[in-house]
Symmetry: C2
Subunit: 160 residues, 2 copies
């Protein structure tokens, strides 16, 4: 039996929701950097699904972090909640900021990047039952160079 | 064929998303006051479902507004994005604010109220295929009194 409830927003996340380093999860074969996942509703492995047919997750990417360059058959519904960054959709890269929505169509190669020297936080809603992501090989050096630029920029801005 | 895309957050809503006065929709038999709905992803009637099995909607309640007191078999996943208010879950009423999450279990009577003299905006994610809400009769005077208090408070705070 599932119970209605309020899950409070608190410093660093939500009350009772344990954030997980995403790359430690072993989900998919992709490469994540500086990513934390908060499974808010509909968890299947570490909590009740509550009759939900979808999962609501919040991801946070450290400055310079990114999600795996990947595709899958299930669509993604993303809403940016914190910071600015970019989203890659197929061969196009677009800036995103608070409350922008990203729809990732089935089969589309995509990646979110915190490449604006800010923490990037976003909701990602997916079907509870879904196919596994397929990682796409990184282009030669491109991801790494962008990450190093962002980290340098972040460090410079953090100086008092 | 559905396409990946970014839906930009703009003043008053999202680019290309036409807000609808919710009470004009004729959905369910409930009573909404001062509610606007923005169907962001997964719309079935006025746009493509994009392969999504869920809908992502954003509702905004004017100060003093509220959603229908109702229940249904499908669960609700709610995240507050703007303002403060309260949520009623069965016989309990709790304050809610930005980034709080509300899980409404199947069959639970619920209502969101912008009763803190602020606009209350929230995401509400539901299954694309779902049962219709069943409205619950208002308790004698309770809703109306709360609404009038909130409107008075709002008007007082708006004075320069």
């Amino acid at each position: 039996m599932s119970d209605s409830r309020v899950i409070r927003s608190v410093a660093g996340g939500w009350s009772g929701v344990e954030p997980a380093r995403y790359k430690d999860e072993g989900e998919g074969s992709g490469c994540f950097l500086g990513a934390t996942r908060h499974t808010l509703l509909g968890a299947t492995s570490d909590g009740p699904a509550d009759g939900l047919n979808f999962e609501v997750r919040y991801f946070e990417l450290e400055p310079g972090g990114y999600s795996s360059l990947e595709w899958h058959e299930h669509p993604h519904a993303v809403m940016i909640l914190k910071g600015r960054g970019t989203v890659r959709l197929a061969d196009s890269t677009e800036p995103v900021g608070p409350f922008d929505i990203v729809y990732v169509a089935p089969g589309e190669v995509h990646r979110l990047s915190a490449d604006r020297a800010e923490t990037l936080g976003f909701l990602c809603i997916v079907d509870r039952e879904r196919d596994r992501p397929v990682a796409v090989p990184e282009e030669e050096g491109a991801g790494k160079a962008a990450r190093e630029d962002a980290i340098e920029e972040s460090a410079a801005e953090a100086l008092p």
